[in-house]
């Protein structure tokens, strides 16, 4: 009998042995395994961790099986070397000759070499020892677990630990979970489901170190966050464990290289499973491993067979998270998407099509058609005929059809969701009033006051009428944000608040966006609405901003930029002017005096922006935000400091206003003016907010304009003190930030809601105080100099080209 030696008793080699014994192959088998046990179903460790299964239930081959087939088991013994010249395997307890050898050493978990990674209590999620360590840690009431890695394995570990009663936090480096298998929308839904079952998920979370005295006690993130932990599970990936093959001189790439017959570069040595590399591919899922096992068994039996790559699909083994991903939905050219979202039921489906063939599918919430789509992918079926209804699955083929319901977002709102913020009217009251006979907008306004004040929720109220009354109500033609949605700006703003949507993927999914990730029209708008509503939670997205706001400078027609430092209230100093002059010379900039009382440096190259900002910062100057939908300038006259007619310190008030408001993002740009007397040298009466000083105090006007439209300000209020002038101004700006449509200047917004409504809101001292408080919360994040941030690393590097190939030899 030929002597067959197998190194590694895992799922792949186990399957090879099964095939061999079934065929009655004449081998005398010796099986080495570093783990002190035989073959078990490793992918079922999750139910063992969660307590749904016992380890005994997932054992594939027990002692009886090995005895029955005459397998000599050397479990708990590592193989230290292969001596190919003598054809012997060197185990820890002695040598063993072989005629044929199979290497099935699998993979090893990847451990990030963070400080503290070797503390007791830091485990991977790979074998029974890891699983038992996690189960032991969960036995203490109130124990906390941190899982590093939000991929398939990490999430299964997190779910299992949660079922064991632990407090679980998942740290994931990327912007959404399972980014290899899912796109953002599906990743968002998965996060939401995990959070529902009590698992905390931190995205873009970079672990800095693990700390503890003799054992793990806490995890510290790069941003300073500290998480207590009784156990840390690192599930960030695996790498092939083929070192023994490399040491023996077998041809290796990232793993042991095999041909389609699973043969290594030595004709008597074979390899199978996660330790092999075939045609440049590595393996981690079980389906191709079983294919390899079948091929290897055939090869050993002297029969013809060849291993070939095939499409794979993924399902998450977490009860209640219904998720499916198959094929290639992320890479490649010439592809189109079909997207379906049903916000009310938390469903997302995306199909990727190339040349009339389905090449990828991602589904969340309803995966019933997953295998049908997977079949279309594998068979490369021509789907041209059924393209229009493809996303609805096999049930719709051959007739029928459906479309996403534009009213789904409103229908999904809970009854207690507030629709009208001005009058505190929730959905339940409106639905009740409709039921009681209020079947028109006017009737509803009269009975509930919903949409009767500023009117920005009119669209939602109309949609509620439509949902409740069905076809008998005609909502009229409100203009949607863009082609990605049927909702208006006002609807989106209200729904972001009412449904507590705190990210762009959340908005896209819950409000049924028709595109994968928006368009240049909606992206900047949604980004603003989110940061205005959730200043502390939402992370401003630079990629959803127009170039000027992303680069903190104004792009010019030739691709260069203009740079404009802030001059508080239009005041400057000789030192500042010298620094500006030096910078203009150094970076070869044109110099222009602006209408907003500052100095513009034009023609600066993008690569030079961080350097010129650093120079201006060094002279004490900050960004003038001349590029932003935010506070631009506060233009002033010299007031009582110098002017013989001045009635108040207009320059001082202008500087105070600018220091309070600078850095804030607004629906459109905001310009202020403060004049020291009614002669109005600062032209305050055509600004978004204009203050005119008089003997008795300050006249505050709003909603002026001097652009495409020219408007004189309308008087908001007269106040006696500077403090009141600042309080009213900030309250007005915050009200504008909270209510206006993106890209409406204040005068357009005031036209829509009416100055009377604005006055009514702001005349309530409690309301003014609340608006000021919310403004200050937002400013705690945004009142900072973006130049300082971008003039230093790592941000400054992003202004340079990614690579410079100008020195590469031309072909």
């Amino acid at each position: 009998m030929e002597r067959l030696v197998v190194i590694g008793a895992g799922m792949a080699s186990g399957r090879v042995l099964e095939h061999l014994f079934e065929a009655g192959a004449p081998f005398e088998v010796t099986l080495f395994n570093a783990e002190p046990r035989g073959n078990y179903n490793r992918i079922m460790l999750s139910p063992v961790l969660s307590g749904e299964k016992a380890f005994e239930e997932i054992v594939t081959h027990d002692d009886g099986w090995y005895a029955e087939h005459g397998v000599t088991c050397r479990f708990g013994e590592k193989v230290v070397a292969i001596d190919r010249s003598r054809k012997v395997v060197v185990g820890e307890k002695g040598e063993l000759p072989y005629d044929k050898l199979i290497i099935a050493t699998g993979s090893a978990p990847f451990i990030i070499p963070l400080p503290g990674h070797d503390l007791p209590g830091v485990v991977a999620y790979r074998d029974l020892e890891d699983t038992n360590a996690m189960i032991a840690a969960s036995s203490r009431p109130g124990a906390k677990a941190v899982v590093i890695g939000g991929g398939l394995l990490g999430l299964e570990a997190a779910a299992g630990l949660r079922l064991r009663g632990m407090d679980v936090t998942v740290l994931h480096l990327m912007g959404h979970l399972m980014e290899r298998q899912l796109d953002e929308a599906a990743g968002y839904l998965l996060k939401k489901d995990l959070e529902k079952r009590g698992i905390e998920v931190l995205l873009k979370a970079s672990t800095q170190r693990i700390e503890g005295d003799g054992k793990v006690e806490r995890v510290v993130l790069e941003d300073g966050t500290v998480l207590d932990a009784d156990i840390v599970c690192m599930a960030v990936g695996i790498r092939p464990a083929g070192q023994i093959g490399a040491d023996a001189g077998l041809t290796c790439g990232k793993a042991i290289t095999v041909d389609a017959q699973m043969r290594t570069s030595d004709p008597d040595i074979f390899a199978v499973g996660e330790c092999v590399e075939f045609d440049g591919n590595l393996f981690g899922l079980v389906a191709p491993l079983y294919d390899q096992a079948r091929v290897l068994a055939k090869t050993l039996l002297g029969e013809d067979d060849a291993f070939a790559m095939r499409e794979l699909s993924t399902k998450l083994k977490v009860t209640g998270c219904d998720l499916f991903s198959a094929g290639d939905f992320a890479d490649g050219e010439g592809r189109e998407d079909i997207v379906f979202r049903d916000p009310a039921r938390g469903i997302y489906k995306r199909l990727v099509i190339e040349n009339d063939r389905l090449v990828g599918a991602v589904m969340y919430g309803d995966t019933a058609d997953g295998n049908w789509f997977f079949g279309l992918i594998k068979d490369q079926t021509d789907i041209e005929e059924m393209r229009d209804t493809l996303i609805y699955g096999p049930a719709f083929q051959g007739g029928g059809g459906a479309s996403a319901d534009p009213l789904a977002a409103v229908a999904a709102l809970p009854l207690e969701a507030e629709i009208c913020g001005c009058n505190g009217v929730c959905k339940g009251q409106i639905v009740e009033a409709i039921g009681a006979g209020a079947d028109t907008l006017d009737a509803l306004r009269a009975q509930t006051k919903a949409s009767a004040s500023c009117g920005t929720c009119t669209g939602l109220v109309e949609q509620l009428l439509a949902v409740t009354l069905g076809d008998s109500f005609d909502a009229g033609g409100a203009k949607p944000v863009c082609g990605c949605t049927d909702l208006t700006h006002e609807d989106v703003r209200r729904l972001i608040k009412a449904r507590e949507l705190r990210s762009q993927p959340a908005v896209w999914q819950e409000l049924g966006w028709k595109t994968v990730n928006g368009c240049p029209t909606c992206r900047p708008a949604i980004n603003f609405y989110l940061l205005a509503e959730w200043p502390l939670d939402y992370q401003d997205d630079a990629q959803s901003r127009f170039v000027n706001e992303r680069n903190h400078a104004n792009i010019q027609k030739d691709g260069t930029y203009s740079v404009m430092p802030r001059m508080w209230g239009g005041m400057t100093t000789p030192d500042e002017l010298l620094a500006i002059a030096a910078a203009a010379k150094k970076y070869d900039a044109a110099v222009k005096v602006t209408g907003g009382q500052r100095i513009d440096l034009l023609g600066v190259k993008k690569e030079d922006l961080p350097a010129i900002w650093a120079d201006l910062n060094a002279a004490g100057m900050v960004s003038g935000h001349a590029y932003s939908k935010g506070l631009r300038t506060v233009k002033t006259c010299v007031g009582t400091d110098w002017c013989r007619f001045g009635t108040q310190d207009s320059t001082g008030l202008g500087i105070k206003l600018e220091k309070k408001l600078w850095g804030s993002w607004t629906p459109h740009k905001v310009k202020l003016g403060v004049s020291g007397c009614p002669r109005n040298c600062a032209e305050a009466t055509c600004k978004d907010v204009g203050v005119v000083c008089v003997d008795s105090g300050y006249q505050i006007g709003v909603a002026g304009a001097a652009g495409m439209d020219v408007r004189e300000t309308q008087r908001l209020v007269d106040v006696a003190s500077e403090e009141e002038a600042i309080e009213w101004t900030a309250a007005f700006v915050q009200l504008y930030r909270e209510h206006a449509k993106y890209l409406d200047r204040p005068y357009k917004w005031v036209d829509k809601v009416g100055l009377d409504w604005v006055k009514e809101v702001l005349s309530d001292p409690a309301e003014r105080a609340a608006l000021n408080e919310r403004f200050e919360i937002s400013q705690s994040v945004y009142r900072k100099d973006p130049w300082a941030e971008h003039a230093s690393e790592p941000e400054a590097e992003k202004f340079q080209p990614l690579a410079d190939l100008t020195m590469e030899p031309a072909e």
Binding site: M174, G175, H176, E179, R180, D183, A330, D331, G332, E333, G334, R335, D337, T515, V516, N517, G518, C519, P520, R523, P524, A542, Q543, S544, R545, F546, V547, R550, N551, I555, K557, D558, G559, K798, P801, L802, A803, D804, L805, T806, E808, A810, E811
Partner: protein, 110 residues
Amino acid sequence: MTWTDIGAVADIPLRGARRVKTAKGCIAVFRTGEEEVFATSNTCAHKQGPLAEGIVHGRKVTCPLHSWTYSLETGEAQGADEGTIATYPVKIEDGRVLLDVSALAEKAAA
């Protein structure tokens, strides 16, 4: 094909782009998904706007100067605008972005 490593995928912001300087002008490398990149000429066919500064949406980019929108897959202007920009083979391997520089020489010479 001559694949040249031009940097890490992580150095390109998601739904953003970075420039690559070449002897024949700038190329824009766009990242449309966690693991998806495209490369085109950085220069808009309309008034030479820098496309790497545009808003990236789906597999399209919109020029920052006058909002011409291009398919990153074909390089063709979308909608009513007519024009085409060069596209270049680019791929991701082990987290690195590889650009085919031979295509660059051919297209520039053509």
